[in-house]
C-alpha cells in the first residue's frame, strides 16, 4: 500500500486544470466567480506544493505512476525536492498575484476577465506539469499547454499586445520544436522517453553524436523559452504590452520553469561530467548567462518605462540562473536554485508595485514619477525599495545571498569572468534602481528642499491602493527580508538534497 501522501504529486497538478474549467464556465456578469476559482485553485495547489515539498524533503522523492502504468509504458510524475521546490515557487507567486489582481483586471480588461483567469490557470497547470513530469514527451505537451495559455494571456493587453504575442508565439514554437527535435534524437538513441531510463541508458551507450545533438537541441530550445541571451528578444515586448496582471503572473514564473528544465536535463538526465567535459555546454551556458546579465542590465538602464525596465532586468536575472547552472558545481546549483526563488519573489513584488502605480497614476513612465508618488503611495514605494535593494543584492535581503553562493562557486572554479560580471551587474542594478528611488524620494529639480516644497508636499493626499492589492505587495516585500535571513535553512534543508550525486 502506497503512502497516501504520495498522491500529493498529482494533487499539485489537478487544481489548476480543474479550476481553469470551472473558471471558464462563469458568464461575464459573474466574473468574480472566475476570480474566486482562480484564487481557490491556486491556493489549493500552493498548499499541495508546500506539502509535497515537505514530504519530498523528509521522506525522499516520490515517483508517482499515473493510472498505475509502470514506466516506460506509462507516464510517471517525479516529485523530488527540486521539482516540489519549483512547484512551491510557481504556485506561491501565482496565488499572491491572483489575490492582488481582481481590481486590476476589473479596471484594465473587465470583459475579458473570465478567459483571462481561465488561461492563467492553464498556464499555471502547464508549468506545474513541466516541473512534475518524468517523461520527455509529456513535458513537450505541458510546454505547449503553458505556452498557448501564455500567448493568450500576453495577447490580452493594449492594441500592440497581439503583435508581441505573435512574435512570442513564433519564437516560442521554434523553441518548443527544437526541444521536440532533441527528444527525437534522444529517443532514437535510447529507445525511451522516460527521463530516468534515459539517464540510465546514456552512460551505457557512451556518447554518440546523436545523443549530443539531442542534448544541444534541447538546451537550445529551452534556452529560447528561458529568454537566455541572445534569444531574449521576445521577452521585452511581450511583457511590456501585456496587461499588468498578466505580466505579473508570467514574469516571475515563466522563465523559471524553463530554467528548471535546464537543470533537470543537464544534471539529472545527463551526467554533469558529460555536460561539462564532452562539449563545453556548461561553459557556453555560463558565458551566455554572463553576457545576458550585462546586456539586460544595460538595456534596463536605457528604458524609460518601468515595466519595460523590469522586463530587461528579467533578462539579466535569468542570466544569473544560467550562470549558476553553467558553473556545474554544488555552489553554482545552490546559487541558481536560490536565485530562482529570490528572483521570483522580487520580480513578483516589483511587478505588483508597477501595477499599483499604474492603477493610481495611470502610467509607469519613470520620467514622470516624482516625490508626490511616494507621498501618495508610501507603502507601495517602501515595498519597491526593499525589492530594489534585493535586486541590487545588498544584505540582508534575499538577493545578496544567491549572489554570495554564485561568488563562492566562481571562486571555486577560479572563473574570474563570472566574478567580474556579478560585481559589475550589481553596480548596473544600482544605477537603474536608484534612478527611480532618487525620483520618488528626493526633490528632483535640483533645488534644495525648502519651505515651499514642504507646503507642496503637505497638499498631496495619501491615496494608497486598496488592501487587497497592498497586502500581497507588502507580503512579498517583507518575505524578501525573511528569505534573506532564512537562506541558510533553505539551502541546508531544501536545496542540498537536490544536488545530484554526480556534481
Amino acid at each position: 500500500m502506497t503512502d497516501p501522501w504520495t498522491h500529493l504529486a498529482v494533487g499539485i497538478l489537478l487544481p489548476p486544470f480543474f479550476g481553469a474549467l470551472v473558471a471558464a464556465l462563469f458568464p461575464d456578469r459573474r466574473r468574480n466567480g472566475a476570480w474566486l476559482a482562480a484564487v481557490v485553485s491556486s491556493g489549493l495547489t500552493f498548499a499541495a506544493s508546500l506539502g509535497g515539498l515537505a514530504y519530498a524533503v523528509i521522506e525522499g522523492p516520490v515517483r508517482y505512476h499515473l493510472g498505475g502504468w509502470q514506466p516506460p509504458m506509462g507516464i510517471e510524475l517525479v516529485m523530488d525536492p527540486l521539482a516540489a521546490f519549483f512547484c512551491a515557487v510557481v504556485t506561491g507567486m501565482t496565488f499572491f498575484v491572483f489575490i492582488h489582481g481582481r481590481s486590476v483586471v476589473e479596471r484594465e480588461t473587465p470583459h475579458k476577465a473570465v478567459p483571462f483567469y481561465s488561461a492563467a490557470l492553464l498556464l499555471l497547470g502547464g508549468l506545474l506539469g513541466i516541473v512534475l513530469t518524468g517523461d520527455l514527451f509529456n513535458l513537450y505537451v505541458f510546454l505547449e499547454i503553458s505556452s498557448l495559455a501564455g500567448y493568450a494571456l500576453v495577447a490580452i493587453g493594449d492594441r500592440r499586445a497581439p503583435v508581441s504575442a505573435f512574435r512570442y508565439l513564433i519564437l516560442g514554437t521554434i523553441g518548443a520544436s527544437f526541444y521536440l527535435l532533441g527528444v527525437a534524437f534522444l529517443f532514437m538513441e535510447t529507445g525511451s522517453l522516460n527521463m530516468n531510463d534515459v539517464a540510465e541508458v546514456v552512460p551505457v551507450m557512451g556518447e554518440s553524436p546523436a545523443t549530443l545533438a539531442g542534448l544541444v537541441l534541447i538546451v537550445l530550445g529551452i534556452g529560447l523559452k528561458m529568454a537566455l541571451f541572445p534569444m531574449h528578444g521576445w521577452l521585452s515586448d511581450a511583457y511590456t504590452y501585456a496587461t499588468s496582471t498578466a505580466t505579473a503572473i508570467i514574469a516571475p514564473i515563466g522563465t523559471k520553469v524553463a530554467a528548471y528544465v535546464l537543470i533537470r536535463t543537464c544534471f539529472h538526465m545527463f551526467d554533469p561530467e558529460f555536460v561539462r567535459a564532452e562539449i563545453p555546454l556548461a561553459d557556453i551556458l555560463g558565458y551566455l548567462g554572463a553576457a545576458g546579465i550585462v546586456w539586460g542590465s544595460i538595456m534596463a538602464i536605457a528604458q524609460n518605462d518601468l515595466k519595460r525596465m523590469l522586463a530587461f532586468s528579467s533578462v539579466s536575472q535569468v542570466g544569473y540562473i544560467a550562470l549558476g547552472v553553467g558553473l556545474a558545481s554544488p555552489y553554482g546549483l545552490i546559487g541558481a536554485v536560490l536565485h530562482t526563488l529570490n528572483h521570483a519573489v522580487m520580480k513578483a513584488c516589483l511587478f505588483l508595485v508597477n501595477t499599483n502605480l499604474h492603477q493610481r497614476l495611470g502610467h509607469t513612465r519613470i520620467d514622470r514619477l516624482d516625490r508626490t508618488t511616494r507621498i501618495r503611495m508610501p507603502w507601495t514605494m517602501a515595498a519597491f525599495t526593499v525589492a530594489a535593494i534585493s535586486m541590487i543584492g545588498l544584505p540582508p535581503t534575499a538577493g545578496f545571498f544567491s549572489k554570495w553562493y554564485l561568488v563562492l562557486g566562481s571562486w571555486e572554479q577560479a572563473n574570474y569572468v563570472f566574478l567580474g560580471v556579478i560585481v559589475i551587474s550589481s553596480l548596473l542594478n544600482v544605477v537603474y534602481f536608484f534612478r527611480v528611488l532618487e525620483k520618488v524620494y528626493l526633490r528632483s529639480d535640483g533645488e534644495a528642499y525648502d519651505d515651499a516644497s514642504e507646503r507642496e508636499d503637505a497638499g498631496v493626499r495619501r491615496e494608497e491602493v486598496r488592501a487587497s492589492m497592498l497586502f500581497p505587495t507588502l507580503f512579498l516585500g517583507a518575505s524578501l527580508l525573511v528569505l534573506g535571513l532564512a537562506n541558510a535553512y533553505i539551502v541546508i534543508h531544501v536545496i542540498r538534497p537536490m544536488i545530484p550525486a554526480g556534481l
Binding site: Y151, A155, R159, R160, V163, A165, F166, I174, S177, L193
Partner: protein, 124 residues
Amino acid sequence: MIELLHDYYAYWAIMLLLVIGLYGMLIKKNLMKKVIGMVIFQNSIILLFVAAAFKWDATVPVLDAAHPTENVANYLNPLPHTLMLTAIVVGVAIVGVAFALLIAIYRNFGTLEEPELMERMRGE
C-alpha cells in the same frame, strides 16, 4: 556519398523542410507566411519521428498469424506514431491561436506586413 544520399534520403528531405520552415518563420516579412513556415517546420519534425520509426519488412503492431510474435523485429514500434498524433493536435492548436492573433492584429492595424506594422505601432 551517393550511398549516404540514397540511404538517408528521407532525412535529407526532412532537413530541407526544416530549413525551409525556419527560413519562413525568421526571414519572411509577412506574418501569414511566417505561420506557413511554422507549420512546415513543425511537420518536418513530425515526419522525422515517423520516418525514424519506420522499418522495412515490418508491420503495424496488430497481432497477425503471418507474423509470429516471437520475432519482435517484425513489428513497428507504435509509440512514435501515436506520439505524433498528439504533436499534430498541439500543432493545430498553435495554428489556431496564431490565426486568432493575426485577425486581432489585422483589426488593430490593418496590415500583416511586418515593416508597415512596425511603423504603425511606433505611431502609438
